[in-house]
């Protein structure tokens, strides 16, 4: 299915998204770098290959929907939207500044952002709404919702998880960014999530577990989700928070802390070196 050229192109997009994310957070001196780096490959695969979308026509009715439920990790979303042409890359420097379209948490005022978020747990329910609407209208639209693993502590996630299979929404995919770190600490210290895949299975979902930094594995999982009929798919993407930057990787400190200028310089050097995609 996947050719090496396509994979290389998506990996290059993911690297640009990571660099953009860190530049944004560093310039704003606030924001959420760790989760932006963990989700960057997922976003690059969706926007670079999987989704039907048109950056020049962000409200095209038949577009696929991407919903960032973990809306604090919006730097990577803004990065991928800019890199694919929704708005100029130069606008990224306005992140978190007054009068900017790029809010601290994703908001629909940004072209390409489907849902206003910032309070955890709401995205999957929203995605059920867009999936139901697509089915009612007989549109081919598919909805992809990205959740954080810590976000799965929210009860509403499980209300939604119970209802999507009940309504047979096979045009809906939930991706859980399983980076094992949430705001304060490691997820296992805050709240036990495992067996996470079994939980989704028990709620009636088709479940896939993939390396969330492997472009071919992600592409394969999205292909299989599209072929699954009668029920939604949950993809548990095993990732590392801060992926691609040695001192951020698996480091809870960088959930919501901006790198200083020295750290930014080193991070970008690491990301843009040939070792970035080992």
């Amino acid at each position: 299915m996947t050719d090496t050229k396509q994979v290389a192109k998506i990996e290059a997009l993911a690297t640009r998204v990571r660099v953009d994310s860190l530049n944004m957070v560093a310039a704003a001196n606030s924001g959420h770098p760790g989760g932006s780096l963990s989700e960057a490959d997922i976003l690059a695969v969706l926007y670079g290959a999987v989704m039907t979308h048109d950056p020049k026509n962000p409200t095209m009715p038949d577009r696929d929907r991407f919903v960032l439920s973990k809306a604090h990790a919006c730097p990577a979303l803004y990065g991928v939207l800019a890199e694919t042409g929704y708005f100029p890359v130069s606008e990224l420097s306005t992140f978190r500044q007054i009068n900017s379209r790029l809010q601290g948490h994703a908001h629909i005022k940004t072209p390409g952002v489907e849902m206003s978020g910032g309070s955890l747990g709401q995205g999957l329910s929203f995605g059920i709404g867009t999936a139901l609407a697509a089915r009612l209208d007989g549109r081919p639209t598919r909805t992809y919702v990205l959740l954080g693993d810590g976000e799965c502590d929210e009860g509403q996630v499980w209300e939604a998880a119970m209802s999507a299979p009940h309504h047979g929404l096979d045009n809906l995919v939930a991706i859980i960014d399983r980076n094992r770190i949430q705001n304060d600490r490691w997820t296992d210290e805050v709240m036990t999530l495992e067996p996470l895949a079994d939980k989704w299975r028990a709620f009636g979902w088709e479940v896939a577990e993939v390396d969330g930094h492997s472009v071919p594995e992600l592409l394969g999982a999205f292909d299989r989700a599209a072929e699954t009929k009668g029920r939604p798919t949950a993809i548990i993407a095993h990732t590392s928070k801060g992926k691609g930057v040695s001192f951020m990787e698996d480091n809870p400190a960088f959930h919501g802390m901006a790198p200083n200028p020295e750290q930014l310089k080193q991070a970008i050097a690491e990301l843009t070196s040939s070792q970035a995609h080992d």
């Binding site: 849902m115 709401q122 059920i128 709404g129 209208d137 509403q156």
Partner: protein
Amino acid sequence: MTETAITRQVAAETLVELGGEYSDLVVVGGDLNKSTYSNKFGAAFPDRFFDFGPAEQNMVNVAAGLAASGKIPVVSTFAAFGTARPFDQLRVGVSQPGLNVKLILTHAGLLTAEDGASAQAIEDVAIISALPSFTVIVPADGPEAAQAVRAAIGTQGPFYVRLSRTATPVVHGSDYTFVVGRAETMRQGTDATIIACGIMVHAAQVAAASLAEQGVSCRVVNMATVSPLDEGAVLQAARDTGALVTAEEHLLQGGLGSAVASVLSGNLPTPLEMVGLSGYAESGNSKALLEKYGLTSTDIADAVRRVVSRKTGQPTS
């Protein structure tokens, strides 16, 4: 015998009518569809009716997703469950993006059969009025409920329509036209104005009639749209009558009385008395509840006498 109507039933029948007119109208229910009568819509348009069980947080964001895809979603459940439980979802998911979601909620206020305090939504108007994008309508009766639902569906933006469980008096004729955001003067008067909403409009009319027999002339204003408030009508009443009473089946904090007080204090300080609830209530039949918690026409008439006394400096008769 006063004619009565059940506003939740009228609203549900109106939704069925509107379902034929708006192909994008959908209803999201929460396992109370027999009580809200939303099952009527479900029977008429089964493919446009979705039950999500008693999971109000999910329901609200599902509705937001439907609205973001061009649907006109109605969230249908009890007022006690559809306002407080999903407040965060209404705030971040609906109000901040200004999505076209319609909360049409029933069993509001005190009159929830004998279900008691947990079922009595008496903070709901305050809760939803705190959300800047929402229009909040408290219909006075069946005819107004039908028109309020029609207006909510036909007007872009988030709406809350507050409905009662119990049959309540009809105060409007068939020639009445409801306009969102516009107060209705139901009776002219010179000594004081009663500004009421919901079931208290009828009580205000009864109070005004009895006060007239005692020589006190009351204007009665139906303020069905509580947010945004018709400030012009409030200030006109203050200028014309110099004394105001508000009446609502809701907490005094954050409801109609608070909104009127805010307008008056900022523009034209005027003696004001508020009839409403000062705390939680309990189980009991409608008549007993309204009497014990001070929501009768007698309570309104007493408030009018107090406010007129404050205006004139004369003791109440």
